[in-house]
Symmetry: C2
Subunit: 184 residues, 2 copies
Amino acid sequence: MLNQLIDTLKKDEVNWARFMDQFVERNIPSKTILLSEGGISNQFHFIKKGCLRMWFNKDGKDITFQFFFEDQAVASIDSLLSNQPSMFSIESIEPSTLLSINKKSFELICQVYPEVRDGFQNILFKRFSNYAQLFLSRIKDTPRERYEDLVLNHPEIIKRVPQHYIASYLGISPISLSRIKNRK
Amino acid sequence: MLNQLIDTLKKDEVNWARFMDQFVERNIPSKTILLSEGGISNQFHFIKKGCLRMWFNKDGKDITFQFFFEDQAVASIDSLLSNQPSMFSIESIEPSTLLSINKKSFELICQVYPEVRDGFQNILFKRFSNYAQLFLSRIKDTPRERYEDLVLNHPEIIKRVPQHYIASYLGISPISLSRIKNRK
DNA sequence: TTCTAACGATAACAATTGTTAAGAAAACCA
DNA sequence: TGGTTTTCTTAACAATTGTTATCGTTAGAA
């Protein structure tokens, strides 16, 4: 997703080196909270290795919204753009390696490269559209249908994400997920 | 919502008259389908009088996403912007009076007024944010909590929208909605 | 290697919701 | 005004899901 943006940056080797300095690489263990719901987000994370999830909590009820793997950008866009408290938490599911950049540095990049800014707007729109699809599927489809979609179209999730997080993503208890799997 | 845009247009009386010609006023009876799911949307509607709903269907299951009343703009934004089939249907709940404008005319307006285009982008972002809130509430909150929120914060909906559409919005059967109301 | 923690599957019971049906009231149309 | 349609409430029954508990397996840490 951010690959296109990074490709744009790479065309200019001088500034590429300069901006890469703005990215901080770090290793984090499993279950590291990168952002808590209600906190203000000021970072983008680029996953070099590992898996993250974006989730929120309601009365102790854990609901996962999206999983992220290598080569994907992760941020709480709502908080980033509006400087308001984030609706989501971001947490690692596996030990992971991240490249992180803060909002200010990223905005500097956008000033130097209008095409990066435009590309970012495009990415934003696409991500909002993707969220709309997730939203609709969440409402429209039964947990079973959504599980089957994961099996067919997102085998990486099935392979690497613990069942109880998958259940959290489907909005059901882990016990109900076991039942769904047994009904095949 | 489109009020700001229209205020911008009104500042220029010559062009205001020209562009108002692009709006078509029409009266529609209750249960008029303005846009079907899967169709391509090329219109904005501004509600002068009446009430519309945006909804989608899954296996005969009717799920309402949002209600619109007077002074609100209605469009299937996903389809409008992407020229792809709409995820939603738009339908009148009451006999209504609409001011409608097609996409091309609206784009002409945006070319003449860059500030309209920018304002529109802002409105888009706000609407996407609002959809995100609706989305989260839809997942996070129980139908009962969401019904109580309607009673407190959206009495117009309670007053004017038939119960079974409210149930559709809450994602439950009308029978379950009766039960919720009885448990107060 | 051993111990501990995490994870997944399953059973039993309770709670909730959907479907079908029926009846009453309200709204609409000729 | 009378007839029809729509809407809402309620009951009965079925289906689904959640909660609690238990057990076995796997992964991680010392």
